[in-house]
């Protein structure tokens, strides 16, 4: 990376840069596979269809999904979460979530609450420990689903999805996981973690382009009572005026983002070649480096995670005498450090960690971040802290 490039610490919002193979695959898709996938029998349509199928296989491989056709693509993680929540929950049902969620979970849940779905929000400690006893106690005869973020987008704390998954299996509940903050950065095996529905976005740690994401629908999910968010052309059963009921078409009305999925498939293969476990280790090393540096800076606090709470790599900090918005602006303009400040679309998480309503400065390194860049960012943070004293 050239010296002129900024120090990009906003990978939790969207990853940058992308592996070169991602750009190349997208250009190739536009140039050589410009047909509409699954809508015709000519060779350019077939070429586009193959790209979508390859993306489905790549996503299946990274999440341990045995049947790629159970993956429905959409524009992002938010739509996947909306599809699962609005599609499965009805008035009279009960749903459980945590106090660490992003608004992509909380907002659809609050809307469902106003339509007669009962909602329990289980507390979480500021350092990331989910109250598992409270979660179990919240289960009642109407409980249909538990939805949990795999990791907080604010603190990086990884929630105990394996234990909650096991509990859901034992209590015959569906388990929906929001993997926006972890897919590609932390190993996810849907079967091992007992996940029934996995919502993912392509443009964060999966390293694909924006406009890609989807929902993996596990075999315990009954399709007959799962309403799609939208209905329309699928290229299949064109003789019918009713929506087809089979996967993935039932949830994929309208032309899919083949160009984006070409990039996503290339990105996921790139990740799989390097192993998610190795990437996870890299994130841990960067986070430790960052925290050790922050420990030396007076006037800056970061949110430490509890003992045994793994991290997705993100660190949230606050300055003693500087608002997050001013700190973020000055890091950008004076020190070339790009990060996201404020509430990160997760007001409930900021309430949990005691930083509502001002929020924090979120530092999220990525796969291409170097310790030299982090050292430079720490210098900038130190300079800001000194100036505010």
């Amino acid at each position: 990376m050239s010296a002129a490039r900024p120090i990009y610490l906003d990978n939790a919002a969207t990853s940058w840069p992308k592996p070169e193979v991602v750009t190349a695959a997208m250009i190739r898709c536009i140039d050589e596979a410009g047909g509409n996938p699954g809508r015709a029998g000519h060779r350019m349509s077939i070429a586009a269809g193959r790209i979508v199928a390859e993306a489905r296989q790549a996503i299946a491989d990274i999440f341990g999904v045995s049947d790629p056709l159970r993956i429905a693509f959409g524009p992002n993680g938010t739509e996947a979460l909306n599809l699962a929540l609005l599609g499965l929950l009805r008035a009279g049902d009960h749903v459980i979530t945590s106090a660490m969620e992003h608004n992509s979970v909380m907002r659809p849940l609050r809307a469902l609450e106003s339509r007669g779905v009962a909602l329990s929000v289980v507390p979480c400690s500021p350092s990331g420990e989910l109250d598992l006893e409270a979660l179990e106690a919240a289960i009642d005869s109407r409980t249909k689903l538990v939805v949990l973020t795999h990791a907080s987008n604010v603190t990086g704390a990884v929630l105990p999805v394996a234990r909650v998954g096991r509990l859901c299996r034992d209590r015959e509940l569906l388990f929906l996981v929001d993997a926006a903050a972890t897919a590609g950065a932390i190993p996810i095996d849907m079967n091992a973690l007992c996940i029934d529905l996995l919502a993912f976005t392509g443009h964060k740690s999966l390293l694909g382009p924006t406009g890609t994401g989807g929902l993996v629908v596990g075999e315990r999910v009954e399709l007959a009572s799962f309403e799609p968010l939208k209905r329309g052309g699928t290229g299949s059963r064109s003789d019918l005026e009713r929506q087809p009921e089979f996967l993935p078409d039932v949830f994929e009305s309208g032309t899919v983002n083949a160009v984006g999925l070409a990039g996503l498939a290339a990105a996921v293969r790139w990740i799989l070649d390097r192993r998610v476990e190795t990437i996870a280790e890299h994130h841990q090393q960067l986070r430790s480096f960052l925290c050790r540096g922050l420990d030396q800076i007076e006037g800056v606090r970061y949110l430490a995670l509890g003992k045994g709470v793994p991290s997705a790599g993100t660190v949230s900090i606050t300055f003693e005498n500087l608002s997050p918005s001013e700190a973020g602006y000055r890091l950008d303009t004076e020190h070339d450090v790009l990060c996201r400040v404020g509430l990160h679309c997760a007001p409930v998480a900021h309430r949990t960690i005691g930083t509502f309503p001002h929020g924090t400065v979120r530092l999220s390194p990525g796969i291409f971040t170097t310790t030299d860049q982090l050292s430079a960012a720490l210098k900038g943070i130190d300079a800001l802290a000194r100036s505010a004293r």
């Binding site: 699954g38 015709a40 029998g41 489905r56 299949s236 059963r237 064109s238 003789d239 078409d249």
Partner: protein
């Protein structure tokens, strides 16, 4: 030109056809995606053409791979 007898494998959706193609390729079974013959279905997408001799192998493999087959037609 002589052509070997072939079987057309129909699917409910092209998504299944593309996945079937990947499964067959992995098993070294030659297959060609072609437009769905109008007299067999009104779908806008593609179906897979395989050698008629491999019809039962293909059917078994796709079933094992959880790819739903909508019909097999000898042509």
């Amino acid at each position: 030109m002589t052509t070997e007898p072939y079987t057309v494998v129909l699917f409910h959706t092209s998504n299944h056809a593309f996945h079937a193609e990947m499964v067959l390729k992995k098993a070294d079974i030659p297959c060609k995606l072609i437009p769905v013959p109008r007299h067999l279905s009104s779908d806008c997408g593609v179906c897979a053409r395989v050698a008629a001799a491999q019809k039962s192998t293909v059917a078994a493999l796709l079933e094992r791979s959880k790819v739903t087959v909508a019909g097999l037609h000898d042509l």
